[in-house]
């Protein structure tokens, strides 16, 4: 009895001192990973960028619909294929109150692109700015970005970079930038508790942000916190318990839990990551195009999306997501047709079906098993083998060397929604993400031409033609683009999830 009573007393005591609902002006995000650094130039990590983007603004940004819109710059023009001129807004200040000028932009971009520009280190983000060769400062508010060769996707790639203060970096040194923030963003850093949380407060001198994204002005909440909760179930629990207002990476099997709670809801947004099954085109059964076509007809993709992903994905018949630039809208779909699949297999010399292996990493095991179950009817006896993602990557992405495996269920992200980030690496002969050993000079020529074509219509046509080729040759089975799912408290208002998985808290309010 005493024990029970003691437990009760302890429980009541704990409950009484619980922090309860966060204050009205504090917004918390349950986030799957911590920042690796707070230096915008010294990481190569999406989660880090998401956190940093709330404290540092970029020359341009994206709205929730993924359009590239102005941010620090109010306008830009391409003077010629290798020169872009930008005009900055006036009155932008860093968190310490000093004015931002074109010199800061030049310094930031040099730091990102020049060898050994960060205290002897080279920025790991260098490759994200491709052929950017330098910045020419025209006056305090005007600058030009110079390219070594034509690179039409510069505006699409610029939202990935944030600008720093030249004076601040020179004062604190490059190493100290890891946890010293002086940005131009809507929030300034209060404290970074490593591995645990990034605590920020509203910057009241904010210039207002992009005029293309309403509302313009200071951030809505006084304080915003990214709380690191790596485990999916715990992140959902934190949302349900009212400890956080927004969670990222809501797994589809937990949607029901979030929807069942009256205080929380699910927000979905089109993703940018294409899921596909890479097949070994170099050797083995899948070097025969008929077997690849048979596999495509053997899969009821919609059934798998409905049953395993709860309907939260859109089918794609090529490598590009439906929202991507240059997407070919007229690609034929390989309909689910067991008879046709069997006929193709028989024609290819497998009248009794075929034994194949599908490699997959642990996170996608369930999907692979569903694929195996569905394809069995057409005669594909698929053995699902679970491996570790990085190991599988080095077995399949061989840059033309022999691939060790038959099929791999994998995906490739494309945050810029420009084909060059996904089409070239996954399909160009011997490129770093080509996991099917596919090599087609005709396709390579189209991709190379598109890479430097500055006329948008012509460039879109080149990608559209390229996608028709891969839809025909089918080096991979193109499956779907899954939606990004967020769990959101009904107390939150104003925030919209965005396809590139960024969580910009400028517009988020808490009631």
């Amino acid at each position: 009895m005493n024990f029970t009573r003691n437990i009760m007393v302890l429980g009541i005591a704990l409950a009484l001192t619980a922090p309860g609902v966060p204050q009205a002006s504090e917004l918390r995000v349950g986030f799957s990973a911590d920042a690796l650094t707070l230096d915008p130039a010294n990481h190569r990590n999406r989660e880090t960028e998401t956190i940093i983007r709330n404290m540092f603004d970029g020359i341009v940004t994206r709205d929730a619909d993924m359009n590239v819109v102005s941010q620090l710059a109010e306008s830009w023009t391409a003077i010629d294929p290798t020169t872009y001129e930008f005009k900055l807004r006036s009155g932008i200040t860093f968190h310490n109150g000093s004015a931002m000028t074109a010199d800061d932009i030049k310094f930031s971009i040099d730091r990102l692109t020049q060898e050994n520009a960060m205290g002897g280190q080279t920025s790991p983000r260098q490759s994200l700015l491709g052929p950017v060769s330098g910045v020419e400062v025209i006056d305090d508010l005007t600058f030009r970005i110079l390219l070594a060769s034509p690179w039409p996707i510069l505006p699409a790639m610029l939202p990935f970079q944030e600008m720093v203060s030249k004076a601040h970096v020179e004062a604190v040194g490059d190493a100290a930038m890891a946890d010293s923030v002086n940005g131009t963003g809507p929030f300034k850093l209060v404290e970074w508790r490593k591995g645990q949380s990034v605590i920020m407060e509203r910057y009241d001198g904010y210039y207002g942000g992009s005029t293309d994204i309403e509302p313009v002005g200071n951030a809505c909440v006084e304080r915003a916190i990214f709380q690191v909760i790596p485990e999916n179930a715990s992140r959902v629990a934190a949302l349900l318990a009212g400890e956080v207002h927004i969670i990222d990476k809501l797994p589809s099997h937990m949607i029901a839990q979030v929807e069942a709670n009256p205080d929380t809801k699910v927000m979905a947004v089109n993703g940018t990551r294409t899921t596909f099954m890479a097949m070994n085109n170099q050797s083995g059964p899948f070097s025969d195009i008929r077997v690849r076509h048979a596999m495509a007809h053997a899969l009821d993709r919609q059934l798998i999306v409905d049953k395993i992903l709860n309907g939260n994905a859109s089918l794609t018949n090529g490598i590009l997501s439906p929202d991507a630039f240059g997407k070919n809208e007229n690609l034929p779909a390989y309909e689910y047709d067991v008879a046709k699949a069997k006929a193709l297999l028989t024609e290819a010399g497998y009248p009794d079906g075929i034994d194949v292996t599908l490699d997959v990493d642990g996170a996608n095991k369930e999907i692979a098993e569903a694929i195996a179950a569905v394809a069995a009817e057409a005669g594909f006896r698929i053995g699902v083998v679970v491996g570790e993602a990085s190991t599988l990557s080095s077995r399949f992405r061989t840059k033309g060397e022999p691939i060790d495996g038959q099929m791999w269920l994998t995906s490739w992200g494309n945050g810029s929604l420009d084909p060059v980030g996904i089409f070239v690496p996954t399909h160009r002969s011997n490129d770093r993400g080509n996991s099917s050993g596919y090599a087609n000079p005709e396709l390579d020529a189209l991709l190379d031409a598109a890479n430097i074509e500055t006329d948008r219509a012509k460039r879109a046509k080149l990608y559209s033609d390229a996608e028709a080729i891969v839809n025909r040759d089918l080096p991979k089975i193109y499956l779907w683009v899954a939606q990004g799912l967020k769990g959101v408290s009904t107390k939150e208002a104003g925030w919209r999830p965005s396809s590139d998985r960024r969580i910009n808290l400028h517009d988020a309010c808490v009631n």
């Binding site: 990481h43 490759s127 890891a178 508790r193 645990q196 715990s234 629990a237 934190a238 190991t391 080095s394």
Partner: protein, 335 residues
């Protein structure tokens, strides 16, 4: 223990650490997966830029050269830059270590506080119904998977009852100027009871999840060694002298029975410090275990190497401490 034997024991550390460094280095070489490709992620990158990054990470050198460089630097306490954090790994590890130490200590205290009384009780009341309940419960304690038990605790105490927080180490307001970097201790030293209470509320669930299997093992060890000791002649003699039951139990029996418990507790502490990745992930605890496992997935070699060296060092040292504790508990034991 003489000073000479102390130094001798200490010197044993060196070959062990060297051996570990060779093994870790060879294993990173043998493990498939390329840190450069993992870091570049899903992106179109030219070969030149890829090579530049490889050079920058020091991975363009032949393995033997990399090993010698690693060894030379490690002797000076420099384990290089973390590929991902782009800061010295020593700093990155140092920022996470206190949270792991604090959680491990609290879990160990919880385990000892539960295990020793229960173990003694079960031994004294051998074969009673309570002994059986304790034994079966300890079996469950060892068998329950941490991630499952942890989530269960979260759902019950944090989501349903809302008594305790789901994750993290402290709330926003309980910021304490660090002294030892152990929050519970620092908040007491600074006289901040509110911060202490907040830190305590955060650590309860992870410490129980982490400590339960340890408590179960320790309880069984204590029970077994108590049973062994209670059969000894000196206990019969002590009883014959007319000492009270409490005196016999705690002064004569328990002190001797604790030797195996101390050994196991020391080894378990090593395991706690290294193996709490699951609990740290479930509770969003900002510790080292989570960091190391994340580093393994992305092949962050410098951090993996430094962390494994640290684990090895800790393990060997704890063994050493356990040996010293023997001599205190039983002066007949010599090192």
């Amino acid at each position: 223990m003489s000073f000479g034997s102390f130094i001798e024991r200490l010197a044993h550390l060196l070959p062990v650490l060297f051996g570990i460094s060779v093994i870790v280095f060879v294993m990173t070489l043998l493990t498939p997966g390329d840190p450069v490709q993992i870091m570049l992620g899903d992106q179109h990158v030219t070969d030149e830029l890829e090579q530049a990054l490889r050079r920058d990470m020091g991975l363009d050198l032949p393995p033997q050269e990399r090993f010698l460089k690693f060894l030379g630097n490690a002797i000076q306490g420099n384990f290089g830059l973390s590929f991902y954090h782009r800061q010295p790994v020593v700093d990155v590890i140092a920022s996470r270590l206190p949270a792991t130490i604090e959680l491990s200590l609290v879990a160990l205290l919880f385990a000892l506080a539960v295990a020793i009384p229960l173990g003694v009780f079960a031994a004294v009341k051998k074969n009673s119904i309570l002994d059986r309940i304790a034994t079966v419960t300890s079996l469950f304690g060892v068998s329950l998977p941490g991630f499952w038990f942890g989530i269960l605790l979260i759902l019950f105490f944090a989501v349903n009852l809302r008594w305790l927080p789901v994750s993290g180490r402290a709330g926003f307001t309980s910021e304490v100027e660090p002294i030892t970097h152990l929050l519970l201790l620092d908040s007491l030293l600074r006289g901040r009871l509110d911060a202490f209470w907040d830190a305590l509320r955060h650590i309860i669930l992870p410490a129980i999840t982490l400590g339960l299997p340890v408590a179960s093992i320790l309880m069984r060890v204590t029970r077994a060694s108590m049973l062994d000791v209670l059969d000894r002649d000196y206990i019969t003699f002590a009883q014959a002298k007319g000492l009270t039951k409490t005196q016999v139990l705690f002064k004569h029996a328990l002190k001797n029975a604790l030797i195996p418990t101390v050994t196991v507790a020391a080894l378990q502490t090593g395991a706690l410090l290294g193996g709490n990745m699951v609990v740290e992930t479930v509770f969003g605890w900002p510790g080292l275990g989570r960091l190391v496992v994340e580093s393994i997935f992305v092949r962050n070699y410098p951090l993996i190497q430094a962390a494994v060296m640290l684990y090895a060092f800790t393990y060997v040292t704890l063994n050493f401490i356990a040996d010293i504790l023997y001599t205190i508990l039983n002066p007949k034991v010599r090192l």
